[in-house]
């Protein structure tokens, strides 16, 4: 039964994404290109800043420049995958206001599924490849070997990170349902997330602790990087698995409470 439901979700998601693509073809394709260019530009400026700073400082909190670049590449990759899949949150407020969210609620499939995953832009998926390529290049450039165990650990971390990011998105949706405020909240989340672009040791002892144990943004880049550099004990990952599950349960609970006060779009 569970497998059947999972297959249904997958089928529906594929269909929604392909229909999103068809819908784009019907409208403006130029927009997608501008977006891609914008994202690449943003990545470019991040790199530029890294070069500018580290051009003079050979070492930053104990990491060399190539290592810092790998961290940037990892962050970019993980963050963008999450954004790619959970693009629905950027349209969420609109959906609540125009009543579409009501239809989500009454659809047999989870309304969270629609709120988060129904707006995947297939054009974004194209960018995954260069981003992944960047990670691989940065990995090799950092001088550490691309061995199976490292890759496996990184993949595990990415999965854990994804579950965590999803939980946070659900919490943001809960705030959105209650207060109709989503856009600033999600951007605030992105600002927080951006802190993980650079090695978290930069933020001092307290900062690192917060970013590792309370809001584990460190999982997005610094921790997988440390795994690659052999500076991290993989057994700690078990703790993060537990944390991710905890966060997920918490977020679903908050969501169900938030719905209690949902007042629905007026007719």
């Amino acid at each position: 039964m569970k497998l059947k439901v999972a297959k249904t979700y997958l089928r529906v998601w594929l269909k929604l994404t392909s229909q999103q693509f068809q819908s784009q073809v019907a409208n403006a394709r130029g927009a997608a290109l501008l977006f891609i260019f914008g994202k690449l530009f943003r990545l470019g400026t991040a790199f530029l800043m890294l070069y500018v700073i580290m051009g003079r400082a050979k070492l930053i909190v104990g990491y060399t420049m190539p290592q810092a670049i790998l961290i940037l590449a990892l962050f970019n990759f993980v963050s963008n995958i999450a954004q790619l899949f959970m693009r629905g949150i950027y349209m969420f407020r609109q959906k609540v206001v125009d009543g579409t969210f009501d239809f989500y609620l009454l659809n047999p499939l989870s309304e969270l599924f629609y709120s988060l995953f129904s707006a995947t832009d297939p054009m974004d998926t194209l960018l995954i490849f260069p981003y992944l390529g960047l990670v691989v290049w940065a990995w090799i450039n950092s001088g550490f070997p691309l061995i199976f165990s490292s890759v496996l650990f990184v993949l595990i971390v990415v999965v854990i990170a994804f579950v965590l990011i999803m939980s946070w998105h659900i919490i943001i949706l809960s705030v959105g349902i209650k207060y109709l405020e989503v856009d600033n909240t999600i951007m605030l989340y992105r600002d927080l997330e951006k802190m993980a672009t650079i090695p978290i040791e930069i933020y001092g002892k307290t900062g690192s602790a917060i970013l590792t144990y309370l809001f584990p943004f460190a999982l997005l880049a610094t921790i997988p990087a440390r795994l690659i550099f052999g500076l991290y004990n993989p057994w700690f990952l078990l703790g993060f698995v537990a944390l991710a599950i905890l966060y997920l349960k918490l977020s679903l609970f908050i969501w169900s409470r938030a719905l209690l006060s949902y007042s629905s779009a007026s007719s």
């Binding site: 403006a28 705030v175 600002d191 930069i202």
Partner: protein, 258 residues
């Protein structure tokens, strides 16, 4: 005059209505300061300098851009594109006031709102992080800085109107807007002082209006001898373009109709 006061007041009321929105926005502004602070502290905290900037100097710069952001870049004219697309523009257009003044006054209200929050946040940031701040005492530089900021406000206003006006021609305004935001983040000098870049790059950047929004006014305030002329030219040039695009766009707006 009274009607503009009303517009000012109503805009503030609009902002206050969404309390959470307000709070979130301000918290975000704090983060905009925090991340570069940590980066620079890690790199320069122990001493030394990068391209001529010591830790103290870069902190001054960062502090300065944070304040200037609220002043120069607080704006509601970003709504313009949406207003055109949904036909919401029709109502203010029909009213007996100048539509540009309308948008401008709303922007001023937004800036005032942002500034008043700064009065709470800045002391807080100062007490926690002790960034070295530089108070300009030379009256001449102060005057120039203020003119420069005024020019910056106009430049940003015109840029917003121009980009919002794109909506007269296309339904999808978010993509170009996004691109503009990404470029401005870098080109205004908000990420780092533009004179850390090679000469050639600086020259190219100064050919665009963006550095004149944050980087140039701040530099003038800090006492560097930068001419105000390019800014004036940009104000006039952008003002003209805005008028032209607006007229052209408006005639199309009537044609589409609602």
């Amino acid at each position: 005059m009274k009607k503009y006061l009303s517009i000012f007041s109503i805009t503030l009321q609009e902002v206050f209505t969404y309390r959470l929105n307000m709070v979130m926005w301000r918290v975000r502004q704090i983060f905009v300061f925090l991340i570069p602070f940590f980066i620079w502290r890690a790199v320069l905290g122990g001493g030394g300098d990068i391209y001529g900037y010591s830790f103290a100097a870069i902190m001054t710069y960062l502090f300065g851009t944070t304040i200037l952001r609220s002043l120069v870049m607080g704006s509601r004219t970003i709504d313009l594109g949406w207003m055109i697309n949904t036909g919401a523009l029709t109502i203010p257009l029909m009213r007996p006031f100048n539509i540009f003044k309308f948008f401008f006054i709303r922007d001023l209200a937004d800036k005032l709102f942002n500034l008043s929050f700064m009065f709470i946040e800045l002391p807080l940031i100062y007490f926690v992080f002790h960034p070295p701040i530089f108070l300009q005492t030379n009256a001449f530089y102060l005057l120039c800085a203020m003119s420069s900021i005024l020019c910056a406000i106009f430049i940003f206003f015109y840029i917003n109107v121009i980009f919002g006006s794109l909506a007269f021609w296309t339904r999808d305004i978010w993509a170009p807007r996004f691109l503009l935001m990404v470029i401005m983040e870098f080109a205004t000098g908000a990420m780092f002082p533009l004179d850390m870049l090679p000469e050639m790059w600086q020259k190219i950047m100064l050919l665009t209006p963006f550095p004149y929004l944050l980087y140039v006014p701040l530099k003038i305030y800090l006492g560097q001898n930068i001419s105000l002329i390019p800014q004036f030219i940009w104000v006039i040039f952008l003002g003209l373009i805005t008028k032209i695009i607006w007229q052209k766009g408006l005639s199309r707006y009537e044609a589409e109709g609602r």
